[in-house]
Symmetry: C2
Subunit: 514 residues, 2 copies
């Protein structure tokens, strides 16, 4: 007994490298249950909900397209003299009660399926960065299709990034059709995790769906397990529908694609500077979208996508890394959970232009509060810089370690007779060796309870200096190079790939994908 | 009306630079009420408390000094055959019920007084770093008295660092007396915020107290407003008293100095690898100290200082920046608040050796969860690197911005008829201009509701490039240079300073202090 307890570092290393830990025993997994941080009181939540119903009933939304006016007025809504679509309280409440919940976002590989149920929490990407950040030269250059594919391939290798919504815009595409189709192609071929896409026009969505059908092995197979969702900015805040996006949404609802109902007002610019008011407007806009989707197709899978942004009020520019941003987003996550709707919010939108200490803490506190509030999906959580204007390859690798640690905090602390450890303490203190290194409990828990970073450094200062005094960016760069030099994901067969390329204008060179 | 609502960026800048905002209207203040993150369920808390009482009653603590054995056995405790001091449940429960609460930690300047009441939360420093990190050369060099004084002066200028417990050890001192006395001197002369000190021997504490009396203007004035607390590692985990530290503690209790009862076990090494077990051991150790202090002097101001550290179980080395660390510390903060005791925990103990992105996220998530759990004091929250082995001047400036933002999240979101903003939304949407820039509400809230960073960057990529593509470290370095080139704090009169120097061996050159 004493023998096993006195095993030291060598035994620990041996235990670590022994048989791989089964997935269900790993220290953190996708979809851990969160919710231990609640920024709003119950009264706050009720007051916000009541104000939301007022806004939808009395202010409503402008710029509704004819089909949505028809649907909403037929369901009891009205169209005002000022040209605004008004949503009666009962319609909104009924929609919330009857909307789809406990939905699954599928991966091409079923091991990446995400069940959005209760407070299960998943971290992933998103964004429409127009720049790649070269972290060495500190230059912002135009982002390309090749970059987008590289990012997808990197995300595919990152344990703690659970889905890949496209995070950048390929600016080397000649038309919106080329952009949308090639974005979908690069995402779907770069990772077998769930992907999120956008389409600028309905015809692009139709073309995109045809590709998704081919990848799935037919439309029926696609509809069984739609592995891509539509990220849809269906509103132009404050409280106006975005006409093109509404048409795209209708197309994708018909096409069986889950919809992320995205409202992204910016407090102090396109939504109230008052944080409570910003929550009200976001929630009102998203619930208007939820009514719309459910009138198009009852119980269609839709995600409550309140993404309130924040302005630096000195300049009016977005500040995605502020404390105001962090608490505002978490409050919206709490509202979504209050409705028990599949809820997706955003965090990690650092203002810093490069992955420096500022970037780290901005991503740290925004992702922590978003991750703990109970939302099912945290978008933008990795890779973004410059208030979403830029993204870097290294960022995904750095942020993956951060998300693993945050996920560990979400897992929390299991308290039971064993874990309370009275007997372990008694043994160690009374029978020796008066420390826990090498104790059976320690060795048993080292893989099951503890998460280890991939590029995060925990060396002693001496060892760190001997290994070159690197910063995390340098270590991430090395990891990026390894991933991109390795073989690329091959989950789409050559035959299907050839079929896609024969029907659509795919511009990602085949030789990049080996 | 429309006129005021349409004012743009220029009006916003004018509003920002108008009359300074009164302290009580600032967006964040020291001592904001936290507690919206609770890692443990109520049942968990009760189970932990019950296990703690078991540990104190049945395992107890070794290495008690005679005076403490006498006090505890006279109060109903016992001394076991194995040489362990055992604490009966009733004694522990009575101590918790009767201990000092709602205590104030005073500053030399009363504007820095901190009331530790309810879930009021303050961020400050601590540590015993033995290295200064040169962030440019990435070298760890031995820390000196001059460094310690520089750090105190920097902290004095940082809005969001509310107290200064010494964060490094001056290694250029010849004796432990020189070290303790000069540390106290450098802290007290560098900042008029509350300071935290340590003493290695009782005679050092006596000498230190004599200096504190001089600074306060006499022992009676010191006892009215003790502006320094004793950070006391009175245990050597697991469950052993530290004899010298106990003697120092007795001296400081008699001297009227508030005591931070510090237990710093390291999960997997000196406390159980099971996080629940680590909480149990920490709480048991600190409560043993609380009993001890209250038997020495009933209701003596004492801080529940559970500082569980975490091991990287691959090496046994401390990992202060891990997710396990973040959740473990917050759970201990919750336990302290459960007892309604003045509670101080630690966060920000980055493993990264330098202020890079890893350092940023490690500090971000640990400080966020510590800050939200309800603890009254968050120590180590700024400046630390290398799992507490190093500290850098720039770190305090960088982390100050982070703490301001985290404090903003702690403030949360006020929900009331005004802040819900129905009328503002109605006006903006129906009467124009369909945006909130320059709206009265926006201008009114820009200083009261929003926090702005000092060295954190929110420029556009273009402006950032034009201003030199700096990282936050470069900007912090500039700020450090400005502070250190400016005049140093002069709150201790020349006369008192001369008196101190005539009686004690002060080694900080007077000319450094102009």
């Amino acid at each position: 007994m004493a023998d096993t307890r006195r095993r030291g570092g060598r035994a620990a290393r041996k235990a670590l490298h022994a048989a791989p830990t089964p997935d269900e025993e790993r220290a953190v997994r996708p979809g851990m249950s969160s919710g231990r941080y609640q920024p709003l009181s119950e009264t706050d939540v009720e007051l916000i909900h009541s104000a939301v119903l007022d806004v939808l009933e009395k202010i409503g939304l402008a710029n509704a397209i004819p089909s949505s006016i028809e649907l909403v007025t037929a369901a009891g809504g009205s169209y005002s003299d000022e040209g605004r679509l008004l949503f009666p309280r009962a319609l909104v409440e009924d929609t919330i009660a009857n909307a789809a919940r406990n939905i699954t976002l599928f991966g091409q590989d079923p091991k990446y399926d995400m069940l959005l149920s209760g407070t299960s929490t998943h971290f992933g990407t998103a964004g429409a960065a127009v720049h790649m950040v070269d972290c060495e030269t500190r230059e912002y250059r135009e982002s390309t299709l090749s970059d987008l594919y590289d990012v997808a391939c990197i995300v595919n290798e990152m344990d703690h990034i659970h889905f890949y919504q496209r995070s950048l815009v390929p600016r080397d595409m000649a038309s919106s059709m080329d952009m949308d189709i090639n974005t979908a192609y690069a995402c779907a071929s770069g990772t077998s995790k769930h992907i999120g896409l956008s389409f600028i026009k309905p015809e692009n969505a139709e073309a995109g769906l045809s590709m998704l059908h081919m990848i799935a092995g037919g439309e029926d197979k696609w509809r069984e397990r739609p592995f891509a969702s539509l990220s849809c900015c269906f509103v132009v805040p404050p409280l106006r529908f975005a006409e093109d996006a509404c048409h795209v949404m209708e197309t994708c609802v018909r096409g069986g694609m889950p919809i992320l109902l995205l409202a992204a007002g910016q407090a102090g610019a396109t939504s109230p500077a008052s944080l409570a008011g910003a929550v009200v407007q976001e929630v009102a806009e998203v619930l208007a979208g939820l009514v719309y989707v459910n009138l198009l197709a009852p119980k269609h899978p839709a995600i409550f996508g309140t993404w309130p942004f924040v302005s630096d009020l000195r300049t009016g520019a977005m500040s995605g890394g502020s404390g105001e941003q962090a608490v505002l987003m978490a409050a919206c996550g709490q509202m979504g959970r209050h409705y028990d709707l599949p809820t997706g919010i955003a965090a990690g939108m650092a203002d810093s232009k490069i992955p420096d200490a500022q970037s780290g803490y901005e991503k740290g506190y925004t992702n922590t509060l978003a991750g703990h509030c109970g939302a099912n999906l945290v978008y933008e959580s990795a890779g973004m810089q410059g208030s979403l204007l830029g993204t870097s390859l290294e960022g995904y690798v750095i942020d993956n370690d951060m998300l693993g640690a945050i996920n560990r905090t979400i897992r929390g602390i299991e308290v039971n007779a064993d874990s309370l450890s009275f007997e372990t303490m008694r043994e160690v203190c009374l029978e020796g060796p008066v420390h826990y290194l090498g104790h059976d409990q320690t060795l048993n828990l080292m893989k099951r309870d503890y998460v280890y970073p991939e590029v995060g450094d925990r060396l002693s200062p001496k060892d760190w200096a001997e290994q070159g005094s690197t910063d995390v960016l340098q270590r991430a760069k090395k990891k990026v190079e390894e991933i991109l030099a390795g073989s690329r994901p091959q989950h789409i067969s050559e035959q299907i790939d050839a079929e896609i390329r024969s029907r659509l204008s795919i511009q990602l060179p085949r030789e990049k994908m080996r």
